[in-house]
Symmetry: D2
């Protein structure tokens, strides 16, 4: 596995397990600083938070943009956490890259090859999500756009695919973990929040992905999910996340990894 150096203190290696948590969207200073402090106390070192949001409907909340990036930076300053946020286009890429420690490419842009080529020119770690309509081989194809462009600091994320089952928002394809480990040299993370769609399914999916051998998790946690401006149903509260964190820790002992 390729080691992914995130900052001076964090490096994702074979024997490590990267825990990323934070709200779906950055909404306010109070929200992001509050949840960052809480997560840091639990042991989380990477804070997620969307500021440019790819929403299915144009009427939906589209994110705070640069204002959100600044709030994320403030959270980093205060807590020392690394921050990850999504980039949606080349136009905002320099801005996002300036603020973020990890650049996220979302599910809907997983085959946005122009964006992948542009991101490949930067030196920051990239978290590349599988498109919900994409095969594992297509995800690998997308990772090659980054690698051939010069950036091999890639973390792949399984986040659920489209199937006929409607009890959950997407169907988490846990088998992507062993298949990707076999076919690529990149760490594989699980996003249990989007396939769950409902917060009470996040824990079992997170545990499943971890037990399948994942190298990390990216989980949506919100100080007050009911009032979230996006993905309200699937975000965990801080206490829910804390409980999950302990269980994940025990599973990583079996898969021989230490949470970072």
């Amino acid at each position: 596995m390729i080691d992914i150096k995130i900052n001076d203190e964090l490096e994702l290696t074979d024997d490590k397990f990267l825990m990323i948590a934070g709200p779906c969207s950055v909404e306010s200073e109070e929200q992001i600083l509050g949840v960052a402090r809480d997560l840091k106390k639990i042991g989380v070192n990477v804070l997620r938070g969307g500021t440019f949001k790819p929403r299915t409907q144009p009427e939906s909340f589209q994110g705070l943009g640069e204002e959100g990036l600044k709030l994320l930076a403030r959270a980093r300053e205060e807590t020392g956490m690394a921050i990850i946020t999504e980039v949606m286009d080349e136009e905002n890429l320099p801005l996002v890259e300036e603020y973020a420690d990890i650049i996220q490419i979302g599910s809907r842009n997983s085959q946005n090859f122009s964006l992948l080529k542009a991101v490949s020119k930067y030196n920051k770690p990239v978290l590349l999500k599988r498109g919900f309509g994409n095969t594992i081989d297509e995800l690998i194809g997308s990772s090659k756009y980054l690698a051939l462009g010069g950036n091999k600091k890639i973390m792949l994320v399984e986040r659920g695919i489209r199937t006929f089952e409607t009890s959950t928002r997407f169907t988490l394809d846990v088998s992507a973990v062993p298949v990707l480990h076999e076919k690529t040299e990149y760490p594989v993370l699980i996003d249990p929040s989007h396939p769950a769609g409902i917060n009470r399914y996040v824990e079992p999916l997170a545990m499943a992905g971890t037990a399948a051998g994942a190298d990390g998790l990216i989980i949506e946690v919100h100080p007050n999910p009911k009032e979230a401006l996006s993905d309200a149903a699937q975000q965990l509260t801080v206490p829910e996340f804390m409980e999950l964190y302990d269980k994940i820790k025990r599973i990583t002992e079996i898969t021989r990894k230490n949470i970072i």
Copy 2:
């Protein structure tokens, strides 16, 4: 959760985890007795083995029929294990019921409502697999055919669904575990062998299902998978299974269950 009494010694309750293992098909006395002894030593108490086989192509091995049932009974006699085997039709139901401790209804018969009604008239525990083209709600509908007919000794099995992903034979829908636990009162088992399709993916899927909160596993184990008459690629060897068994044990400690 409804407690499922399998025989005088085995009862699947909330705090137990049922391990079922054995070959895809019963092939010979040597094969089934050999693997039964090995599995019993590891701690497995329920032996699986198909004798009536639902094969996609009529030219494929269709199972030993009653001869296979007799061999399963001999394995039970010698090892004390309970036996489970699949019934494909009402015609052979009395025969299967006579021999089996648990009656299995396979994925392709999950909506064979006539068979479900017939099985519901017996008193034996039933292991009902989800059809690979069925929603969770349809599986629950099928379980109601059993329950309304009089048999509530039902164990439900998630065994992978059809999706666009072709790296694995089917896509294991681990979220079926929490969803079924929420919507029904029956134990939920995971079959990691059929979604894996390839033996090296069986372990991660088994671990994922267990960590998601499953109440048991049903796994294909063959003394010599390469020479198996069906599902050669996905069956584990006995040493592979032994290694998996230990990891499953550790996960069940986290989910607070004891393997039976």
Copy 3:
């Protein structure tokens, strides 16, 4: 293509197009005789009507059973139409075979291999539906169970498959028409009613399937769909069907077939 002789007057050959219509379920004498007369006048020669119904939920209407078969026979007697009805199990197979001119195997029994073997021993034409979770190759496998058992009077039916799209009940896979024509020697019919799920989508799907080269249609028509005991939303009224019939006729002129 194998010619399918249905009765002394009807034979489905390469240059013919078989129109089958009738209610989802036989509900009463008035209902089935009324709709049969109307359909016969329009030019339909094969009447469909379910008397043993495979319903997802056991509480749903399960069909009139033998009573329904008798009503179908009365409709045949009066109108001269051939009748087709579904068989769900070996137990009722002799009864169904006694009454029906064409034996239907439904989507949920498409891989009920025991039933296929039993039906293969009879000499009546068989209409075999694709399972909604089955690939085209699996449908062909199922047809081999019939052919190897001795019955090659097979008509294959594409009736929609399970996909992530929820605007329609199933997704009609029109490409199954050319693929099956290439890979088998059997006529291929389209069932536009089940994939549509809603009556106003039945016409476009019927026209699409016909234009794709299908050898026939099987359509649900009810004298009063709103009061139907099953599939109320997707059944056409007689006037709606009449309008569709004319359009289908014009398309079959392009595909060089004559409606029978």
Copy 4:
């Protein structure tokens, strides 16, 4: 339905059927001019040809870029055909817009909301393809990004979705035609080439889509498909297309449309 004015001579209205044809990729002057002349003679007025190609693998031919746009312009000059080509990113949007009469947004960018917003600021007609992993409602969501941005000259395209069936490259969802007609005011075109994946399935899918009520087709035609640099298997030869054109014409008479 909203009327779409393409140029001074072409306007897609309710009673018209738009035929778009041309190679997957613009490869050379000889290729594109040759096929344009042939298509124009048959009656085609809009020429397609990719110059920026979204390829799954970075090693695949990525298109001729601006050079290809110039060749398309030369073909327009000579034949008078309108030209349509795909835009992959905001960077090349001004260039593409300068040359193209219709801007195409491909399946992989169907939820590239930044690109949609950028395209919405131009006044050219847009052909928006459904993402192969997207629901019909998501396609409608994407169209709203264009409309709210100021551009309602939208043509929607059904081009096949991801399903478990592997006999064809994608599964054409013909029901998208009536569903989109019901839910939006935009014309709906069918791309039969990508779902077919193999050229001999293109005709039945094109006919199916037309019979389902589509307002047009976009078909890949290449002077010598075997030597095509992309999508070699699914492109029609000119004689194959000519034969198809005549059949489509007869179907549009039934759906009351005139090919433009």
